[in-house]
């Protein structure tokens, strides 16, 4: 209902603007672009960055577009309702920004063939549904290297959300990179079954610290784990946006998602009539994944190593999933000299050597 209210308010605003506009010359109707967010805009993580992308679209395209958003939309039936509502209220382009919106997006898209849909991090496409995601694992490779060098206890804590390939890939990327510089490292994973629950994320982080972790990594959206790390005097890596403010001493760096260029480009394509369904998976190279500034406490040689890896990923000389890769049982998944193809990475459902526990089935 909060969502409905917000929408109502937005459409009310829109109506007001249109009323005002009718007095002036006949301008072309602006393209209405809708965004569906899984968390609140103020999460300072995942959703915050998507909203930055939305603002960039407004800034770049001015009165040619009219954007609106619905935040904190649960994945599932509610999402279908919200997306349908956006599609039926004249939106020409709708970004659905969480993995769990995949089936709702595809379902609604069938009913509205003229509306273009962009679904983040999913793999189901249609003529009017494109998918896009960022190669966060590239960022996780670099933070894995740093974490492997910074840990004293050789235990990395990982606060995880849901066991989907996206999250598992991140865990594995960290484990492989960390063990490449420090073979003694193990990664402990705690699943909180939520993308956003600051209290639970902090509790999970504390549990990991109690069990010996001294670098906290996370694949959930609030800054609570970074803060918990700060208070316990260990290191942490921010997620999705710069979280330094929540742990100035602990914050080693953060993986930043920059959706703005993609959102602007795709909105332009709809305006020009050149929009086509497709799949974009951008990383360091396209600027979709970035790292925030390094903590000054990281030794210079570690920073140099991290930067070398980042540049290597950009020029293609470094691949986060390069063989030999063994799974937990020691079975060779990828032979030396090979790199993993995108399809295998997208469906990743095994832990590599060095990750503790089992993937929840």
């Amino acid at each position: 209902m909060k969502l409905g209210k917000k929408l109502g308010l937005l459409s009310g605003l829109a109506a007001g603007v249109m009323l005002a506009a009718t007095g002036i010359a006949q301008a072309a109707d602006p393209l209405k672009v809708g965004f569906v967010y899984v968390g609140p805009v103020g999460d300072h993580g995942w959703t915050y960055e998507h909203n930055q992308g939305r603002l960039a679209v407004e800034k770049a395209l001015g009165d040619k577009v009219k954007t609106s958003f619905v935040e904190s939309v649960p994945e599932g039936a509610d999402a279908t309702r919200v997306i349908t509502r956006l599609a039926s209220t004249g939106h020409g382009l709708i970004f659905t920004t969480s993995f769990g919106y995949m089936n709702p997006t595809v379902r609604v898209a069938k009913r509205f063939p003229k509306v273009k849909f962009e679904h983040a991090t999913g793999f189901k496409r249609a003529d009017n549904v494109a998918t896009y995601s960022a190669r966060f694992y590239e960022g996780r490779h670099v933070i894995g290297l740093i974490a492997g060098k910074m840990t004293k206890t050789n235990v990395l804590g990982y606060v995880a959300s849901f066991p989907i390939p996206e999250v598992i890939r991140g865990i594995n990327a960290v484990a492989i990179a960390a063990r490449s510089v420090n073979p003694k490292v193990t990664v402990k994973v705690v699943w909180v079954s939520s993308w956003f629950d600051p209290g639970k994320e902090a509790d999970a982080a504390k549990a990991l610290v109690d069990q010996g972790a001294d670098v906290m990594l996370q694949h959930t959206d609030s800054p609570a784990p970074v803060q918990a790390a700060e208070r316990r005097g260990i290191w942490a890596v921010g997620q999705a946006s710069d979280m330094k403010a929540f742990g100035p001493k602990a914050h080693l760096t953060a993986i930043i998602d920059d959706w703005a260029p993609y959102y602007v480009e795709r909105t332009k394509a709809v305006l020009d009539g050149t929009w086509k369904s497709g799949d974009v998976w951008g990383g360091f190279k396209s600027g979709m994944v970035k790292l925030s500034s390094y903590n000054s406490a990281i030794p210079a040689d570690v920073v140099a190593m991290a930067e070398k890896a980042r540049k290597g990923i950009i020029d293609g000389s470094v691949h986060p999933f390069a063989g030999p890769i063994k799974d937990q049982s020691g079975k060779v998944i990828l032979k030396a000299g090979e790199v993993m193809d995108d399809k295998t990475m997208l469906g990743m459902n095994f832990y590599v050597e060095g990750v503790e526990g089992k993937i929840p089935q």
């Binding site: 917000k6 509790d203 089992k358 089935q361």
Partner: protein
């Protein structure tokens, strides 16, 4: 005793305390015959107000008071609407939650990235020096922040108030049969308004505990459904303060336990573990409250009904 055990117990206490406050507050409200579904909204407004005052003034006491006051202010809106303007309690309560979430997001603007030092802890260095059991006693009983002790006092005081004090009997009478209470001259709506304000203050305190102690930061929607769990606890605890307390600790304890179990590599699927606090709390509370006659006796008969004095 493994090294993680004492921090584990501490985490349980901090995770459970917000439920104690919000749950016991709501219990008093429901005992007076009012159903306020706005706990989540009052909590989050309490959280953001307390955090704002804590960060600007640096005073923990002032921050806590502000949290309680803000929760009560939210409750006042609910009280006036439902008691005097006779709006539907369920709808108004839901609206209060939605309003609170939005309002807190607005109030929290600019509060980003700030942190609060935390509340003072009570220390008893001598007792903690007792060998072997000292640290355990120290952890279980001592060295918490003041609000934890207050939550225990609150549980005992509310239990006494409802069962032993005259004012508590009046409150329950109003909740059982408002017409009868009115006919013998009790100010039904005033009693209910006071109960609603108390409930709001406690929910605000629960929220303040989250933003000042549990995760001393502000992010939107940080209560993440805790108000709803507090509401459920009241019903499953069949309106008994001590059972709300037990339920809160059961829920908090199992939540923390399942996180630890995962870290220790215990092979239970985390989905099952994530479900455990909800399931176990409901189960235990249903079992200790299984006497249906007693539940009927405990459930306020006028719960959720508007009162309009006629004649």
């Amino acid at each position: 005793m493994p090294e993680w055990f004492i921090p584990f117990l501490l985490s349980v206490v901090t995770a459970s305390t917000p439920f104690v406050f919000a749950g016991i507050g709501e219990l008093v409200v429901e005992k007076s015959g009012v159903l306020n579904l706005g706990v989540e909204g009052m909590m989050i407004v309490g959280a953001v107000s307390a955090f704002a005052v804590g960060v600007t003034t640096g005073s923990g006491a002032l921050a806590v008071l502000t949290g309680a006051f803000a929760g009560a202010a939210m409750a006042l809106i609910f009280g006036v609407l439902t008691l005097y303007l006779l709006s539907n309690q369920v709808a108004t309560g839901l609206a209060l939650t939605l309003f609170g979430l939005g309002l807190s997001a607005l109030m929290g603007h600019g509060m980003v990235g700030k942190t609060f030092a935390g509340l003072p802890h009570l220390e008893f260095p001598l007792l903690e020096q007792i060998p072997v059991i000292g640290p355990l006693i120290g952890t279980l009983l001592l060295g918490h922040d003041v609000l934890v002790y207050f939550s225990v006092v609150l549980m005992i005081a509310v239990g006494w108030f409802l069962n032993k004090s005259r004012a508590g009997m009046v409150l329950r009478a109003v909740g059982e049969n408002h017409n009868a209470a009115h006919s013998i001259g009790y100010p039904v709506n005033l009693v209910r308004l006071l109960a609603v304000l108390f409930g709001g203050a406690m929910a605000g305190l629960g929220g303040a505990y989250l933003s000042l102690v549990h995760t001393p930061l502000w992010v939107e929607n940080m209560t993440a459904g805790r108000g709803w769990i507090a509401l459920a606890l009241v019903v499953f605890a069949s309106w008994r303060p001590a059972r709300v307390f037990v339920g809160a600790y059961l829920f908090g304890g199992l939540t923390i336990m399942q996180l630890h179990a995962q870290g220790l590599g215990i092979e239970i699927p985390p989905q099952v573990l994530a479900m455990a606090p909800y399931l176990a709390t409901i189960l235990v509370l249903v079992i200790i409250s299984r006497d249906s006659a007693l539940i009927r006796l405990n459930a306020p008969a006028c719960l959720g009904k508007s009162f309009h004095a006629t004649g």
